[in-house]
């Protein structure tokens, strides 16, 4: 077994909102009333059905409630055993699925405030991702700016399957805000289900949705690169979360080859896709889609042509590995240090900056609109 080293950064932890009603204290009067009067149910996404095997390791599944809903469990099962200095919380509560941008915005704000109060305030190792109502770019930028004042938020979180390809220019104000505030954009597996979860329509089974996440990441990488996001925002980092990474070399060969052949169509792409990925794109470690023998995996890592791309992650509480085998067999101590410490710190610039925990910004309702 490859042992984790102390002081790492777990870049993909999933604290669960116990129920939509858990957000009521963080909603204003109007939205609190909407949730109760309209009889809204919980916002659990089909991407991660609560009782599905992928949604929780059996030994991490609590007796009651959703996996990942207890901070004590997260400490005992992930933060302590893997000895991390920081853990980045990526909530997957289904706020992106609703179609009203006002409602999505209210739920996102509540979710971010909930994360700060119920998680970040309670363990100094924890850092947060800002969940945004991506169907409104204006509201997303406002939420990024509001939360970014709390230096414990280190990233902006989006889903890999949303309303539009992520490279579309309409989204660029989000990327400009993130770059300006030193926040990478984390793109996590999952869909808002406004579109079919595969490019050829709706599959019949859960496994089809989950496997298709990797294709969605490839499509989004292509979109982000060829639309020119990184020509405009050269300092912006994007992190592919729960994307898998062993598909990267083959995908990049294809993208690179056709970019060379038909790059006159997108002349603003001023560097080869491979170079853009090496400078701007990172991948979380889990899941590792490779056979267990170290030789094969090391060949894949070699084909990635960089030891700076991978960021340590447990994907807690999702079931990607058993026991403490979070790191693959046969990788070098140098690479372990890169994956666990150096690469995350180089990606998340806020980890190395001071946090003013004594004065976290509080939402001032007097400045909020009374109606949505």
């Amino acid at each position: 077994m490859t042992a984790p080293i102390a002081g790492g950064v777990d870049c993909d932890l999933h604290p669960a909102v116990p129920h939509l009603t858990s957000l009521l204290p963080y909603l204003n009067d109007y939205w609190r009333d909407q949730v109760t009067t309209r009889g809204m149910t919980d916002l659990v996404s089909q991407s991660y059905p609560t009782n599905s095997p992928i949604s929780s390791r059996p030994d991490w599944r609590p007796t009651n409630g959703k996996p990942g809903s207890s901070l004590a469990d997260m400490k005992a099962q992930a933060l302590d055993p893997f000895g991390v200095s920081y853990g980045i919380c990526n909530p997957l509560f289904g706020v992106q699925m609703v179609f009203s941008e006002d409602m999505a915005d209210a739920f996102c704000r509540a979710l971010n405030d909930w994360l700060a109060k119920e998680w970040l305030d309670k363990d100094i190792r924890l850092r947060g991702s800002i969940v945004i109502p991506a169907q409104s770019v204006e509201k997303s930028v406002a939420e990024i700016e509001r939360c970014a004042r709390d230096r414990r938020f280190v990233q902006v979180l989006m889903l890999v399957m949303g309303d539009m390809p992520l490279g579309k220019r309409a989204y660029w104000p989000i990327y400009a805000a993130a770059e300006r505030l030193g926040l990478p954009i984390g793109i996590h597996a999952g869909s808002n289900y406004h579109n079919p979860p595969t490019s050829v329509g709706w599959g019949s089974y859960h496994i089809e949705d989950y496997v298709a996440q990797a294709q969605a990441f490839q499509t989004q990488l292509t979109s982000l690169i060829v639309e020119g996001v990184f020509a405009r925002h050269p300092n912006l980092k994007m992190v592919m979360l729960e994307s898998g990474f062993t598909w990267l070399p083959a995908f990049l060969w294809r993208l690179h080859k056709f970019w060379r052949g038909i790059r006159m169509e997108t002349p603003w792409v001023d560097r080869a896709p491979m170079e853009i990925v090496r400078s701007n794109i990172r991948f979380s470690l889990q899941p590792i889609d490779a056979p267990p023998d170290p030789e094969t995996l090391n060949r894949v890592l070699d084909h990635m042509q960089s030891d700076e791309l991978l960021l340590f992650s447990t994907d807690y509480p999702h079931w990607q590995f058993d026991g403490d085998a979070v790191l693959p067999e046969g990788i070098s101590p140098d690479l372990v240090r890169k994956i666990m410490i150096d690469n995350p710190h180089a990606t998340y610039s806020r980890l190395t900056q001071p946090v003013h925990e004594t004065n976290p910004p509080k939402l001032d309702w007097s400045q909020e609109e009374k109606t949505p």
Partner: protein
């Protein structure tokens, strides 16, 4: 909302006898999410518990557009003995069938086996809801008649379910929803129409449903 129900005409009213009426759209609900289990093979119990219904939308429960009120149903329709609106036959009789003198009530169960991506589950749920209509409703009140719910995206499975119910006096129509994967004129749905015509059952098309397509021609509204 908040309409008063009267068991008899108001004093002084000249109306003494109400004409019997047919109500062609009554929605019977299940008291609990596992009420259909006795009508479903065991394998589907755990499937539903683990993966849910896996419909053509993202929510594990509830609609993607939250209704204006719980279950889009009147607040005064909650049965006094618990459960959602429309889940109690005795309360339906007391609140609706008796005072309104309903002689024929056609049941249109919603949230059943339609708009589901796994066609085997869709067919199993459709058959279960049909058995459930007989066991819990039409056999207990002769004024009520059922609708044959079918796996709407699987023409041959739907036709088989219709043929299974053909001649059963508990059913008076076949039920489809207005939103499907393709427009209802497409050939994939024709086996449903063929079997319905054969059985002498009209097709009822009820509003709503999920086919995975944006619900307007210009995309998803708010």
């Amino acid at each position: 909302m908040n309409v008063l129900f009267r068991s008899k005409p108001e004093p002084g009213s000249s109306i003494q006898v109400k004409a019997a009426i047919a109500d062609c759209d009554i929605h019977p609900a299940r008291k609990t999410s596992d009420e259909l289990y006795p009508y479903l093979a065991k394998r589907w119990h755990s499937h539903l518990q683990i993966y849910g219904k896996h419909p053509y939308q993202g929510m594990m429960e509830g609609p993607p557009y939250p209704k204006a009120q719980p279950n889009a149903s009147r607040r005064d329709a909650y049965p006094p003995d618990g459960g959602p609106q429309g889940s109690s036959l005795s309360f339906m009789q007391q609140q609706h069938l008796d005072p309104n003198n309903v002689a024929l009530g056609v049941l249109c169960p919603l949230n059943t086996g339609q708009g589901i991506r796994n066609q085997d589950l869709s067919a199993a749920l459709a058959s279960a809801i049909n058995d459930w209509q007989i066991a819990e409703w039409t056999s207990k009140d002769k004024r009520l008649k059922g609708s044959v719910v079918v796996a709407n995206e699987d023409g041959p499975a739907a036709a088989a379910e219709i043929r299974k119910r053909a001649g059963d006096k508990n059913f008076v129509q076949v039920l489809l929803l207005s939103r499907n994967v393709e427009p209802l004129g497409q050939r994939r749905y024709w086996p449903i129409y063929e079997a319905a015509e054969e059985a002498g059952l009209p097709i009822g098309v009820h509003a709503f449903g999920f086919g995975g397509n944006p619900i307007t021609a210009s995309g998803w509204p708010s």
